[in-house]
């Protein structure tokens, strides 16, 4: 049915490896391969997103952005990356060294665990649990611990305040993220990502579930922006008041890890939004227009996935560079007094829609 099925590719790789090695060695080798692939992917996405952010920021501020290094400044982030690698790693006196060094890794590992569950194309995902959505929410909730530990172990008041803000913020907004995803789980009847995507064969969920799905989508975008500590919710690192928030004391590659972690989290939430609401790698299908669907099927699923993700990332950057930063009490009021009740009502509405077959 689908032109591109990557499960053949992955299974052929598996077969060729297991034909020369014992099962144990096969597992180890496959784990290493998957790890390397994701590492490369991380580096690539990190570079592209940093560049994109600077360009888009410049666009919104009527500037040009980086232009000097390479054509249109394309090499700028690579140069920045090399600069970061060469910087000195400053050790803070009186800091808790173990936790100070551990914190960036917790952030990165949490995002690493989450990205494994995302389906890039049919058969192209590392983990396909029957509880995929829950799993992603679970592992991404660990990331905030890295921020909290970083803030505390730096022995710096700006870091501490930033970390506490971030803790309060992430713990609160996780609820909204989870509930808005659950709204779609109600519609899909499954938490498995591959099944969620397959179910959107006849139309993306944002169209199928119309009103409640649209509300859920908006809430998801707002709360996932907050959960990833991005503007206008970037209180944890509000430059004007907290220097750089929880990573004030970090330098060099450790800072780069936090930086990368932030962009990867943005990529992950965007790709989840793309998968759950916009059909993931599923091409745009309109029931009845078979020839149109055929043409759409020729575009590779990977392209579909990346372009949907890119659009959502663009929206998130647009939000960041447009709205002013909130205050912490406004932020928590927004979540607990508005988003959460709306979400709960919305999930009931969706349940009603599903029960009465009001969806398409």
């Amino acid at each position: 049915m689908f032109l591109y099925d990557f499960s053949e590719l992955t299974s052929s790789i598996h077969n060729s490896i297991s034909s020369v090695m014992s099962p144990l060695a096969t597992t180890v080798v496959e784990m290493v391969i998957a790890g390397i692939v994701f590492l490369l992917f991380y580096a690539l996405v990190g570079l592209i997103l940093v560049y994109a952010e600077r360009k888009i920021c410049a666009f919104f501020q009527c500037r040009l952005g980086p232009m000097r290094v390479g054509k249109w400044g394309l090499m700028q982030t690579i140069a920045d990356f090399i600069k970061l690698l060469m910087k000195e790693l400053i050790m803070i006196k009186n800091a808790d060294k173990l936790l100070f060094n551990l914190a960036p890794f917790i952030v990165i590992i949490a995002s690493f665990l989450a990205i494994g569950a995302i389906p890039f194309a049919k058969g192209l995902h590392a983990l396909d649990f029957d509880i995929g959505v829950l799993y992603v929410m679970a592992v991404s909730s660990i990331g905030v611990l890295g921020i909290l530990l970083a803030g505390w172990s730096s022995n710096n008041k700006y870091s501490l305040i930033g970390a506490m803000r971030s803790g309060a913020q992430v713990v609160s907004y996780e609820l909204s993220v989870g509930l808005s995803l659950m709204t779609i789980v109600v519609l899909a009847g499954t938490m498995q990502f591959s099944e969620i995507v397959e179910a959107q064969n006849t139309g993306w969920f944002i169209f199928k579930g119309h009103i409640p799905a649209l509300i859920a989508f908006v809430i998801f975008i707002i709360s996932s922006t907050a959960e990833t500590n991005r503007g206008p919710f970037d209180l944890a690192e509000a430059e004007s008041e907290l220097t750089a928030g929880f990573h004030t004391e970090y330098s060099g590659i450790k800072f780069a890890l936090f930086f990368l972690g932030e962009y990867m989290n943005m990529f992950i939430v965007a790709s989840i939004a793309a998968t759950v609401f916009l059909g993931g790698w599923m091409p745009l299908h309109i029931v009845g227009l078979d020839s149109f669907n055929m043409i759409m099927d020729y575009i590779p699923p990977f392209i579909w996935f990346i372009s949907k993700t890119a659009i959502i990332i663009f929206i998130m950057m647009w939000i960041k560079w447009t709205f002013p930063r909130l205050r912490i009490d406004q932020l928590l009021t927004l979540e607990w007094k508005y988003l959460l009740p709306i979400n709960l009502v919305n999930i009931t509405l969706m349940a009603l829609c599903v029960l009465n077959q009001w969806h398409f």
């Binding site: 099962p23 144990l24 597992t27 009186n94 800091a95 808790d96 173990l98 936790l99 551990l102 649990f129 029957d130 509880i131 829950l134 799993y135 929410m137 679970a138 592992v139 909730s141 660990i142 905030v144 611990l145 909290l148 530990l149 803030g151 505390w152 172990s153 022995n155 501490l160 970390a163 506490m164 803790g167 309060a168 713990v171 996780e174 938490m191």
Partner: protein, 164 residues
Amino acid sequence: MNIIIFYILAAVILIFSVLSVTSRRILRAATYLLFVLIATAGFYFLMEVNFLASVQLMLYAGGITVLIVFSILLTSNIDHKFEKSEIKKNIFSVLLVALGAGVSLSVLLNKTFNVKSNTEPVHVKKFGYALLNYGENGFVLPFEVISLLLLAAMIAAIMIAKKR
């Protein structure tokens, strides 16, 4: 392969639980506890009860540890260290732990368990149905009573925090 992972996880749990209770810095103790909880989730993944594993990660690692760390952030200073406990106390508690572990181990190791082979991984839908089932082997009553407990806990927390 599973056996190797099992022993790795078990070693992680053992080492970090000991570290967690012996550490003299409170936030480090909480961090070690985090590793213990994550490794426990690893056990569940190993047994292919993914739902339980995710809930373990979400509630314990992502929820409870975050709350613990958060409260430490609010109350504790980075320079603070626990006092070194007396040697007499240490010896006594080690003996006590050894005694307890000895008794439990001797009982558990002598027990022959009925091993169920080829158990099917439990699909998440089963959990959903069991949670809302009010017949035999259903859990709707505990599910609802826990919500009562949580309500009470919230009200209790508010009551303690209320200003005069």
